[in-house]
């Protein structure tokens, strides 16, 4: 099979579109992103626990923000990235793009779950309740359902090519729906009850708090990259198990 080529500035940008060439590249990138995530998380947690001041309204309970907000950001961002790779896979028929989308889904679902769970833990001491039918919480919950639906659909179809393409279409339909869902839920909430709890009117944040949150956000980001690269390597090995280079690689491991 001849490889398509897109040569800009002496680099063939399609070189790493093939699972065989991407596999070692991903392997080389994982330690960098993994250790960067660990270092950033250590710095972020230090700032979060020891440097950032205690909030005058919420006391120490607010410190869960350093996990909660980055997880919520990543949950939405990963869905966009997943839909992007799904769209690329459908448009250019590249297997690796579909594998990337498949590898991103569990990390995205994990981040969504983390955001919901830490949100509940944060809600109990500050709002006095585990759960509020607030627009953000509800749309985050529906985002989790979208992730789980994507994973369930891919798991239910045995043939990889069909699973890839069906999942990709679902991810694209979902990404069109996410804003509609968000606005409809927001609207629904304001109709049913006045906003008893508002997250939008946040008090001005201390600079150290913001710094801790940004450090944690980058830590989560790099962790997500490392985790999905690791997962995509596993998927590549599983899917390409018939290929010679995989057999050679497996012999090298023994």
């Amino acid at each position: 099979m001849s490889q398509p080529s897109l040569v800009i500035g002496n680099i063939n940008w399609f070189k790493y579109a093939s699972p065989q060439t991407f596999f070692p590249l991903a392997g080389a990138m994982i330690p960098w992103f993994g250790w960067a995530a660990a270092a950033l998380a250590a710095a972020g947690l230090y700032v979060g626990f020891f440097v950032a001041p205690t909030d005058h309204q919420q006391g120490e309970a607010y410190r869960i923000i350093f996990i909660h907000v980055p997880a919520a950001w990543m949950s939405m961002f990963i869905y966009l990235v997943m839909a992007f790779w799904a769209g690329v896979g459908l448009a250019f028929n590249t297997r690796l793009s579909h594998m990337m989308a498949q590898a991103l889904a569990p990390t995205g679902a994990l981040m969504t779950f983390l955001a919901l769970w830490t949100g509940a833990l944060w809600g109990k001491p500050t709002w006095g309740t585990w759960w509020v039918w607030d627009a953000r919480l509800t749309s985050e919950l529906i985002l989790l359902f979208l992730y789980l639906g994507f994973m369930a659909l891919q798991a239910a179809i045995d043939e990889p090519r069909r699973a890839d393409r069906a999942g990709a279409l679902l991810a694209l339909v979902g990404s069109v729906n996410v804003p509609i869902i968000y606005f409809s839920v927001q609207w629904w909430n304001t109709l049913h009850q006045g906003a008893s709890v508002s997250l939008t009117a946040a008090p001005r944040m201390a600079a150290t708090m913001l710094a801790g949150m940004l450090l944690m956000a980058f830590a989560f980001w790099f962790y997500s990259i490392a985790a999905s690269l690791h997962r995509v390597r596993t998927i590549i090995l599983e899917r390409e198990r018939g290929a010679d280079w995989v057999k050679e690689y497996a012999r090298g491991l023994r």
């Binding site: 529906i142 359902f145 979208l146 789980l148 639906g149 369930a152 659909l153 239910a156 179809i157 090519r161 069909r162 393409r165 069906a166 279409l169 679902l170 694209l172 339909v173 979902g174 729906n177 509609i180 869902i181 409809s184 839920v185 609207w187 629904w188 109709l191 049913h192």
Partner: protein, 222 residues
Amino acid sequence: MLEALLCVIGRDLRLAMRRRSDVATALLFFVIVVTLFPLALGPEPNLLRAIAPGVIWVAALLASMLSAARLFAADYADGTLEQMALSATPLGAIVAAKVAAHWLVSGLPLVAIAPVLALQFDLDQSLLGALVLSLLLGTPVLSFIGAIGAALTLGVRGSGVLTALLVLPLYVPVLVIGAGALDVAAAGQSSEPHFLLLAALLVLAGAFTPWAIAAALRISLE
């Protein structure tokens, strides 16, 4: 092309009329689900009046999803679907015709019987018009979205439950706006914005989902 579409609609309607029990089953499901709520929550009239729009909407949504899950199953099993995909008429247009026929058979009866169920819940009679109009605009959108799920899960094991998992999150905007129309009407305000939004969703769904459904069918037929 119009001729082909009318032919598809006529064929599906004729097929449905030959097996009337299938049509009746979905309708019966709708009625039974609605009936379960007073049994579970007690016959307190004020409570029933308050929950009526939500209950009827959720039941309509579930009934529509269950009947949409089998939208392409028979055509897929006997090979008709492949012939449709090969025909000169665009698959998206044929799919739109099939969804329209499906709505006439499964959505329209729901809309027709909903006011009777609303009376069981002692819903104010001035709200019946809003109920019918919201369902009339909303249920076709449900049929279009449900068809995407049905097309993606065609011939997949456990496709019924899977379709529910895929489709129910996508139903949320229709449910929110549809049931919201009645809440607003009950509060004595105009629910016209809700109807306009439902109509906008219907236009969007009618314009774009047939092509997504056609793409999903082609993936499943490969």
